[in-house]
Amino acid sequence: MKLALFGGLYSNYLALEAAVADAQQRGVDAMFCLGDLGAFGPHPNRVFPLLRDHDISCVQGNYDDSIGHELNDCQCGYADPNDNYFAQVSYDYTLQNTSADNKAWLRSLPKELRLHVDGLRVLLCHGSPRRTNEFLWQSNTSTAFLDRLADEWATDLMVGTHSGIHWQRELRDGRRYVNVGVLGRPENDGTTNVWYAVLCTGSDAAAGALPCTANGTSVPISVNFVPVIYDHTLLAEKMQQEQLPDEFIQTVLTGWWTTCLEVLPSHERRMGRF
């Protein structure tokens, strides 16, 4: 089985279009999105028809919960006043520009999706299985902790997004945690592309892929992180037209994060410029 797994979209409909085309070319069996459809980018309604037309099942992110229920903020939980300021600007814009129908749809999304793929138990969530807005960064998440989550949620493959940088780790008995990254904005590495993941299991897995032996099975799993190049200058123009903060536009154009940096552990923070 071959699945395309998209992380936060942040209204980046141009990147979503490019990712869908890429995934189709790879012949994936199904596509999923792990939530946070809005935020940051322009014209929040534009991702919805793409998701529906391509049968992309979605998990509800913290942003979707907030916009759907018209809450006061995005529940990202930033504590830095500066981060909060920018987070609020994009939240208010997204709230104002998301249609009532789309808000209703966001409200209806599940907090998690469970799939059975080639005998593997796959759990798709937004932050962590236990908490929608929990950040799981590579450098501040022990393997013992991920193993505990995999035990408690009885899953062989735990897939999430939320933090914005892709990574994966092998767990006990060949189980996996995969953070698929996000399509919404680049990864704070000075390149303008965004990322998603292709999960291949069973006979679709890459040659030599390690098997998951939990749950009495022996199913090979391989994960391929895919860079997506899209028309980021067009996105930046649209953001400008919508008068979104220049700090966000710079991120799209340069590949460096400029705000909401206080949540990063030092390892991930060092990778960036600011």
Partner: protein
Amino acid sequence: MSTPDVMETPHIDLMSLDEIWFQVAGTVCNLTCQHCFISCSPHNHSFEFLTFEQVETTLVESVEYGVREYYFTGGEPFLNRNLVRMLKRTLDFGPATVLTNGTVLRPEWLSELRTAEEKSGFSLEFRVSVDGPTSEINDPIRGDGTFDRAIKGVALLCEHDFLPIITMTQTWDDSRNAEILQQFRGVLQKHGCHRPRLKILPRLKIGAEENRTEGYAETERITHQMMEGFDRSQLLCHHSRVVTNRGVYVCPILLEASNGAMGDLLGESLHPFPLNHGACYTCYQFGAICTNSTLRSQKSD
């Protein structure tokens, strides 16, 4: 500190053991800050240093509980001669954070730690206590000359490519927070710290601080009513325990409390705890004051 009837007090369950704290320097510190909530000093041996073996045993045990990250505190952790070794070992298990006053750091330790951090892939965070952007604000509380010494420590950390988090215990009016933060960013820039991470913490009115100011009023306690709908994950005791040379305690704040000790071993320390202390009230009001995480409350759990 008087404690009201335990039955009237809400109890908190340990949801899961996400963090382990090591009281690695006990209550021994090279400084004697006037607001120290566990009254640390060079002469306070109420809690003693942890040994490398105690840390090692706990690390191994922690795997079974699925612990996510480890914190090292005191006193001043770097007074413990085994700290560097302990931190390096910890980075085999997961991310580590040290709470230090920044005044005794040595370049050779930091080089060694930076190399170990890079190799492990887990973050090693430093939280340095400096109680304001000037010696005029800091020194009356932390001692003469401590501002300059701590800032030197911060600069040394930055030279070694660490990104220290500066924590300030707030001794000024809320209205000055923005100005203080701005001023501190400037000071840090000047000392080669180009990505300042600053966190303002509330005072905990126990230990030395109780003598310096007023302590908690009888009414400053968490009630059952207050806990309704409250996001318990904001309280450290909901997801961590602290290992000391005298056994496992509920949190690094209540070391001196009569009921703070939970058991000799981790496995004996997992029962619920009554939130019957004034300090609990501060945790409730401010939330997440002890962890690096800047997460505020959110409604879904």
